[in-house]
Amino acid sequence: MAQREQKKIAYDAIVIGVSFGGLQALLSLLPSLGADFPVPIMVVQHHAAQADDFLARHLDSLCQLQVKMAEEKEMAQAGVVYLAPANYHLLVEDNQSLSLSVDEKVNFARPAIDVLFESAADAYGARLVGVVLTGANNDGSKGLRCIKEYGGLAVVQDPQTAEAPSMPEAALAACEVDHVVPLAEIGAFLNTLLMGKIKDERRTSNIQH
């Protein structure tokens, strides 16, 4: 291709928010990410208060990337997927370490997607990709708007492929989303975006194949 002069990797991190239908969505997305994925991925999934580390271990066993529960003050490392623990908000610090908080719920949720997205936007500025997946509420849309304001990239699951469309729909309504991608293609999309194989063409409403 002619226009391969694009900067090598334009992003330093990915944040993902998912709610109702989240387990299925993560099972579809995370295992498709390549082993040498060059940035850290932070995930907020709304889940039952008593959830333990089972989900992390399960996903870890299925993924090429390491999947783990986020520990407070650990540095976000490339190629690792960090899940917010139940009952704690997950935040990113300016030095790209992770923080936890028991601060009050946001959008009736703890962890809340907005909290992760807004703090990550602070930490990574324009070098951040925000991804909103299936869910039955509107958590994440304020955060995604914030990511856009700071110059980052906004990706939303195509609501038609979502188990619960309201969260991706709310995100689409809240800001100018760069890419709307069917669930089954988000993994491949992120692989190509981060491994530099496609041109990062902003503000196309759908990726073409």
Binding site: K73, L91, D94, S99, S119, E149, G151
Partner: protein
């Protein structure tokens, strides 16, 4: 990168400096993501144009400072939070405490005191009540006032009852409160064993020699350096063989003191100070 964004970070740093110089509260080594979030939220609520305006107001209006102090100290708490923790205390810690002739337990960063009342209930049921003194400290006077009242919202009772049972409660939770409209008064006999006092973990000294220290969901707001300092303070405040309990997502791993403690319960942040 927008300059507004960078500017607001600078403003937060200056605001924390101003708070420290004027009022002596030191938030400079707290997790900045979390501090920033709280400050921006207050800014939104008050409709102030920027954080510098907040700083100005805070320097000249002590009442407003109290509001911000309240914002910065996350006070969210509940009774028998993390029932598995209380279960582990019943099963693994009580037998150790029982070997002491007098038991002093310090809850640091106790917020509105729900943890203290929970521990009082647990240790009462364990038969240790006669030789017990509980201390609850926080640096926020407003939450301490509430803690002393011993009142919880009636709508929380359902969750607390559930927590209590899952935490190994052997009686009926309703024995420990009287519901009055939307409030539930905790049993006065619980209060008798609890002393609430103002203590700042960052700037104050050792609090006394304790058999057990509980500090949950406070260290997560501190930088690693500050965590080290505070864990050293706890180490110095514990008797030999004393028990240290942290929040479920906190650990001693980076404190530099991990080898002076042994982990008492797998999967729970319950540690025992070594005898030597």
């Amino acid at each position: 990168m927008t300059t507004d964004h960078e500017t607001s970070k600078i403003e937060v740093t200056l605001l924390l400096e101003a708070i420290y110089l004027k009022y002596g509260y030191d938030f400079r080594n707290y997790s900045s993501a979390h501090i920033r979030r709280r400050i921006r939220r207050r800014q939104e609520l008050t409709g102030m144009e920027n954080i510098s305006a907040m700083q100005h107001r805070l320097l000249h209006d002590e009442e407003f400072f109290q509001t911000v102090l309240y914002d910065l100290s996350i006070n969210v708490t509940e009774m028998f939070r993390d029932p598995a923790f209380y279960l582990a205390v019943r099963e693994k810690v009580v037998p150790i405490l029982a070997t002491h002739s007098f038991i002093k337990v310090w809850h640091a960063g106790c917020s509105t005191g729900e943890e203290l009342y929970s521990m009082a209930i647990l240790l009462k049921e364990a038969g240790l009540y006669d030789r017990l003194q509980l201390y609850g400290t926080d640096f926020n006077e407003l939450v301490l006032q509430k803690a002393r009242e011993g009142i919880v919202p009636a709508k929380a009772i359902k969750d607390y009852t559930d927590n209590y049972q899952r935490g190994g409660g052997i009686s009926s939770f309703s024995d420990y409160y009287t519901a009055k409209y939307e409030r539930a008064l905790l049993a006065p006999e619980l209060k008798k064993k609890i002393l609430f006092a103002n203590h700042n973990l960052v700037t104050d000294q050792v609090f006394g020699e304790m058999q057990m220290i509980v500090c949950r969901n406070v260290l997560i707001y501190f930088s690693r350096e500050l965590q080290k300092k505070v864990i050293t303070l706890f180490y110095d405040s514990l008797c030999r063989g004393g028990i240290l309990c942290l929040g479920s997502r906190e650990s001693l791993q980076f404190s530099g003191l991990a080898d002076r403690f042994s982990q008492l319960v797998d999967g729970e942040q319950i540690y025992q100070k070594m005898y030597e």
